[in-house]
Symmetry: D2
Subunit: 296 residues, 4 copies
């Protein structure tokens, strides 16, 4: 029998994934904290629920993709939260970028109610989500993951299994976002270095993006930095700062000194102090440039 699915959180990523689940003919219920997002989905047959509780009560799988740890805890166990309404045996597929410690706590709370919890953060920009070309990282109980695999097929080009510890996939996600942020800073410094020594930033982005760094992160972000396409944002700086803060908290609690991370934290703080929270997170390049006396 076709499993019933709920999708909670209709940001640009969630919206695309929900749409693909409908196209794959799953009965879908959706919910979003702020109203008015669901129309494109209800038009295709999705049901819109008024609360997480309402959304999940008949679901076999519940996907969630929300802004941060607090938003997720609210969706799970706040007023009209989902957890107490879920069917025994159902599975929560938790895609938000959150602290590993939060994942551990949530997994335990789900287990107490006989509900599965799978951490399933993704890599990929909204276009990749729309094309079903995400990379999905999974951690959680083996049996739950096995049941999930056919469901996520329309969403990703590949999934990666990081074992049964509930927080493992979140550790991967945080590691990855740190590495992406580091690549952005490294390019920003290198490109300003190049510019002040006579090389056009676009030339640098093209050269490196087609040779030793010919991978999505350098190709895409390299162009954005060189062309200063910081607005509208692909990923808001305020969100990037939040993610880097999650890395910092996890690094602190596990006692890992990370000097690159420290530089990044100061970069985001400066951008926010100067009013740049709503631009793309690559806009730290503006301060790399202004520190070098370049006027943008």
């Amino acid at each position: 029998m076709t499993p019933s699915i709920a999708y909670l959180g209709l940001g640009s990523m969630g919206m695309s994934m929900a749409a693909r689940l409908i196209e794959a003919s799953y009965p879908l219920t959706v919910w979003n904290r702020s109203a008015g997002k669901a129309a494109p989905l209800t038009g295709k047959g999705a049901r819109e629920a008024a609360t997480p509780e309402d959304a999940v009560k008949n679901a076999d799988f519940v996907f969630s993709m929300v802004a941060d740890d607090r938003a997720l805890e609210d969706v799970v166990s706040g007023d009209h939260g989902m957890l107490s309404a879920m069917k025994p045996g159902a599975v929560h597929v938790s895609m938000s970028t959150i602290l590993p410690a939060t994942a551990q706590r949530l997994a335990a709370a789900h287990a107490e109610r006989d509900v599965g919890y799978i951490a399933a953060p993704v890599f990929g920009r909204p276009e990749a989500a729309a094309a079903g070309m995400l990379w999905i990282c999974l951690s959680g109980k083996a049996a739950d993951k096995e049941r999930l695999l056919p469901i996520i097929k329309p969403l990703c080009q590949q999934h990666y299994d990081f074992g049964e510890e509930p927080q493992a996939a979140n550790v991967i996600k945080l590691s990855g976002n740190f590495m992406i942020a580091s690549a952005i800073e490294a390019m920003s410094e290198a490109f300003v270095f190049g510019e002040k020594n006579g090389i056009d930033q676009g030339r640098l982005a093209d050269f490196f993006g087609s040779t030793i760094f010919n991978c999505p992160i350098y190709k895409n972000y390299g162009r954005i930095i060189a062309e200063q396409r910081f607005d509208p944002p692909g990923f808001r700086l305020a969100l990037g700062r939040k993610d880097i803060q999650l890395v910092a908290e996890t690094a602190r609690s596990s006692n890992v000194p990370m000097p690159f991370l420290a530089t990044l934290q100061n970069r985001y703080t400066a951008r926010v102090a100067k009013g740049g929270a709503e631009s793309d997170w690559t806009s730290i390049a503006l301060d790399v440039a202004s520190d070098a006396g370049l006027v943008r």
Copy 2:
């Protein structure tokens, strides 16, 4: 008529390139500061010269690939240096990683003697050199580059032209080595972060090297870091430190603050202080790990 070529500097990179030029049937004279390197090449028909001066006197193109700025200046205009012996109209193809300022000075000195100077630093490890799969960056006079293009065909998968300013390609090379060093540090931090939070370093290297960072730098160096293959070195830390120092000097003279670069400089200094100058430059990962209390 087939041009005559000299190759000065038979390190692992130079050796492979010289061998490919012989295979391509160019008459080749070689020279190396320390003796005993040329045998594999003379066995294939190369002539070995006793001095740079002797090596270049009949050459139409002189390639040089030596350890640093000082070594190059010595080869060019030290005792029995090459410059005063070169034929008018011949071209020096300068492949060493040197300061842009040195390139400018050398180009001017060559021009005074009616000798061409092309900066031609390369990207790629020794295996890529042996396979003729390097990426070569060029800058210098257009006419000289045009004459050079057929000659470098057996050496590279692709060449990139950065215009007529003699130092431009050196700026690219320094930018690139800085970005590589930054990627190594970022991976080292991320992998230790992962390890202390329960993820095997090899899993991290594999995952990122096949998804968002599926490019040579992350794939190759990621494996080396995860497997701690620091000896024998692919690229000695002492040389990496030298290159990063060239970036720092150029950044200082062009007034570019680079916080990631500053972190890297301290990393290499610490490694050298602890006796690690002769290991691979990825071995800074040892200090990232020991700073986090991990015993290797």
Copy 3:
């Protein structure tokens, strides 16, 4: 009429201050979370209370000096907490090093119950506390501070008034601890630089401590660093790390990039990762030395 005083928290600082209040003939009730600390004080006439609630019920002034924000919140409003038991019009003199945000929240909670709240963090080591030679920073309602002044006379060589905003004195305290930690790092780097260039660390400490840096912080900490007197600790590294973390949280919420602070955070994290949490906070000098290849 002589006011009645309670002192909550009998660490080395609190113990010395409580003793001086007894000597100054104030009726004193004391409390400490772990038992067995009060004996030297009860021997001189202090009453020991079993809970904060019990300790404060007749007090006109309640001093508190506990480990961190959480401990203070517990003392104030946890089980058998003090706040609900205080007399209207009494004043809480809050000496712990805490977040300014916590001070604001506590001040509001006190005001609701008609209880005064004065932030009163101190500078000075335990010996200064024992000698009544602390520097006390005050912020809070003017009328409350005026009543407090005669009481703190036996405790300090001088007090400084930072106005009526409840958190102001905490901002001063955090600024100061950051500056002290920075001085420790600066000396550690300078002394290792000196040592590796032929100068004895003790000579450096003496010279600077008697010339351009002839102030308590450099004189005292300079000797400790040069003589490597890290155990037993004067101020535990774990506590220093906590304080620096409070600075970091406040800097983040007020959007202040602080690169020196970032370096310090990594230093403390590394020390804790290597098992050094219980030594003096100057023991970061050990890592400055080992990073430079010096074996201690």
Copy 4:
């Protein structure tokens, strides 16, 4: 017999010291690279020389205080340099802030000509020089220093002997300037932290300068930072950057990682990039403030 003295380099420090030597009745010859500085001294009886060579030929002691290593090497052994003109047995008292390596090289060159060389860098601002209240650090041959002591009495409140290694006093000077620059950065960060959390910068400077940091560096520089008195400069940022660069070169050659130093280097680079080379070196506080979104 009263020794004859030459003073080379009449910047604000040299001028004040030369004046005090005249007042102490020493026969004095002076020289400065750019003309028109000597008038106040010749008016009091000094002889002005046209070249270093001319200035030193009858001198028993030659003081020098010039801008940097290159300027000093020029004065010593450039065209009409001093060294070849000095009397055997005379002593060069070298007060400039230079590399320890330069001091070693110069000391050897002096010894070959039977001329003494004493490194004698000073601490103190121009007002201290005018009042004879400098602190002078000495290193060099014991016999030379013994002869020098009566001569420097009018210049300093105290001298400190760092032994016979010629470069030792220069190591002290570099250590000290690094520590001063670190204190400036630490205050700048702390004061902006304070300001953004409601505390006036002047209050912070006063409080710390009269309590835990009641020493010249914090008192003087604290006021300058709080009052933003960056022009005219007391010590030009370009010179501060040069000194910090000397520390960096010495740290690199002796393999000492110094993260605070790295932050400082980037600060000065940014200031110069933004056109601030001629302001006081405390003006890095402007960037600390602007990074935090404060408009000056």
